[in-house]
């Protein structure tokens, strides 16, 4: 098991991958990807029980991660590759013709690690209910983690799923909201204010934890805590505060890098701020 310093080193490499992938494709979503790099690194390298070398769609006796906000595919792909699900060099094919690394995650090209297509927002939590129910039917006590964007909570279907999970006590789900306060058109407070999410989730029957998604110590401790709490009658929601564009100074503090690719000069500037720890692909 890697210690938190090792996880921080992996996350740095993941951030380099994100910048290089999005630059290479000249499109993609770097902002949210950078913000969630610490979370996905912690989940895949420390928290989840899973088997990267032998990907099995059915995930028997494995924890499952569902990425509902599919546009942050760069961080998902990088972490899957760095974890051993598929060759790291394949990251270079991101968003290119005939690639298994589609712009948004998909299963049709059989990329190991992806269990459902996502991109059209608001659907991952519903899918997670099904996975969670299947695990219960199969007497499999592993967990289902589902990451959503905060802007994504504007989709009505999310609240259908939140209501179902909370009221029917589907307690093997751990939801995570990337609470960065930004979406394509601007701050969520301007586009469509989300209100008091903690109170809303609690009113829907969830136990709410809060964490700084860019502090590896907090991320690992909170995820461990969530896993311990899970299965005791109430689903767990983690409100994860992150900084969109985390790790690259000119991408932070703005929504402008939600879905824009850095040019070569910007790429080099970004990479100069991120340590190469595992070797670039």
């Amino acid at each position: 098991m890697p210690d938190n310093n090792s996880l921080r080193e992996i996350a740095s490499q993941v951030r380099r991958d994100i910048i290089r992938m999005v630059n290479g494709a000249k499109s993609g979503h770097p902002g949210g990807s950078l913000g969630c790099a610490d979370l996905l690194t912690a989940l895949y390298f420390e928290i989840m029980d899973h088997d990267p070398e032998n990907f099995d769609m059915d995930a028997p006796n494995q924890d499952v991660f569902i990425l509902s906000n599919g546009h942050i595919s760069p961080v998902f792909y990088s972490v899957l590759a760095r974890n051993g699900y598929f060759p790291v060099k394949e990251l270079a094919t991101f968003r290119k013709l005939h690639s298994r690394l589609q712009g948004h995650p998909a299963t049709m090209e059989k990329l190991p690690g992806v269990r459902v297509a996502s991109g059209s927002l608001g659907q991952g939590l519903s899918f997670s209910i099904g996975v969670a129910r299947a695990k219960t039917l199969n007497e499999d006590d592993k967990k289902v983690f589902c990451l959503m964007g905060d802007g994504e909570l504007q989709e009505g279907q999310v609240w259908e799923a939140l209501m179902h999970i909370g009221s029917k006590k589907v307690d093997n789900i751990i939801g995570i909201v990337d609470y960065n306060g930004k979406q394509i058109d601007g701050p969520t407070d301007e586009v469509m204010p989300l209100g008091n999410l903690k109170l809303k989730f609690e009113a829907f029957g969830w136990t709410v934890l809060e964490m700084n998604g860019n502090d590896m110590d907090d991320v690992v401790a909170t995820l461990r805590h969530a896993k311990t709490l899970s299965g005791n009658g109430e689903p767990i929601m983690i409100l994860m505060t992150t900084e969109m564009g985390m790790g690259v100074d000119f991408m932070m503090g703005t929504h402008k890098w939600h879905g824009a690719a850095p040019n070569d000069e910007q790429r080099d500037n970004a990479l100069s701020q991120l340590e190469e720890t595992l070797g670039d692909y």
Binding site: A106, Q123, S126, F127, G130, V131, L137, G156
Partner: protein
């Protein structure tokens, strides 16, 4: 019409009404039997358990039945997720709420994600009746057949709906199974095996091919009787599977008769007629007439009144057959 005017009445296979039942009850019975025979079968319903006849399954297999409430989008996503772990989810609600309401959810998480979900839809078409156009979908076949990899089935009676429900449990891949509300003639006997994608020829004929689906199959048989009395030999083929379409059977029949009538409880746009026309245009262009709803919404009324009003009955099939025959070169 001259060419057939003086023909003698020919022997024609007749179908007897075994009893009268709703197709949705065929679904409900089969689902219950699947619950007994296949532990992987699970069912989800969006607050219409009684309407979908899913009670027997729900009561006997409570651990495998999921009441989703009035949340169809969430139901489709949940069904897709249930396949992770090897289950075979059957979702149940009205056809309109099974398709148009949740099209993107089906598209992304079921069809594009290649999940083995069976979307089972009752109250399809205008025979839903008095509730009116908000609940009557006439677009669902078109919507669903446009999705790559989706199988689309519209069985014609109670027995066939039961057969089809069991068949889709053994089929790997997403399926849209469409059935209805009203009590209608049940006439498919057990020896007429149901095979996904395989058209069922019900009556041999040589003057016109009537390709019918769903509730219109019985009307096509009635039409064939009337045509027979007029000296016209109509071939009746039950196209229960609209996708994948049995092109071979369609072409074989059309080449023999030289003209086609399609009959369905669906919009003219996007239904069985469109699918058949595509086969004809690419392979063997001949006259084709459509018995379908002509690009309009439905309205309130009894099922029988509505079928008559929108021209979905034996009389209109007869008129269409005569018109198609008259257009033969």
């Amino acid at each position: 019409m001259k060419e057939v005017e003086n023909r003698e009445i020919i022997q024609m296979k007749e179908y007897k009404i075994i009893n009268k039942r709703d197709t949705r009850s065929g679904f409900g019975e089969a689902l219950y039997e699947l619950g007994q025979s296949n532990p992987k079968v699970v069912a989800l319903c969006a607050d219409l358990t009684g309407s979908l006849k899913m009670n027997a399954f729900a009561d006997n297999f409570p651990e495998r039945f999921f009441q989703m409430g009035i949340a169809e989008a969430n139901m489709i996503g949940t069904a897709a997720g249930l396949t992770i772990g090897g289950h075979i989810p059957f979702t149940g609600t009205f056809a309109n709420f099974s398709t148009a309401r949740v099209y993107d959810q089906i598209r992304q998480e079921v069809a594009y994600s290649e999940k083995n979900v069976k979307i089972c839809a009752s109250h399809a078409g205008i025979t839903l009746g008095e509730d009116g156009a908000t609940h009557q979908t006439l677009e669902d076949i078109g919507l669903m057949k446009m999705l790559p990899g989706m199988t689309v089935i519209n069985p014609c009676d109670f027995n066939q709906t039961k057969q089809a429900t069991k068949a889709i449990a053994d089929h790997i891949g997403p399926v849209y199974l469409r059935f209805g509300r009203p009590v209608v003639p049940n006439f498919i006997t057990d020896d007429r095996k149901f095979e996904i994608g395989k058209a069922l020829k019900l009556i041999d004929g040589k003057d016109v091919s009537i390709f019918a689906t769903g509730h219109l199959v019985w009307e096509a048989l009635e039409a064939a009787k009337i045509l027979n009395r007029k000296g016209i030999s109509a071939e009746v083929v039950d196209i229960h599977t609209i996708k994948p379409l049995d092109e071979k059977a369609i072409l074989e029949s059309a080449k023999k008769t030289g003209c086609v009538v399609t009959a369905e409880e669906h919009s003219l746009n996007g239904g069985l007629g469109d699918s058949v026309a595509q086969v004809m245009a690419r392979n063997f262009p001949i006259p084709q007439e459509y018995v379908a709803v002509m690009d309009s919404f439905g309205q309130s009324g009894t099922p029988a009144e509505l079928m008559k009003h929108y021209g979905l009955d034996a009389g209109h099939i007869v008129a269409s057959a005569e018109k198609a025959i008259g257009r033969k070169v």
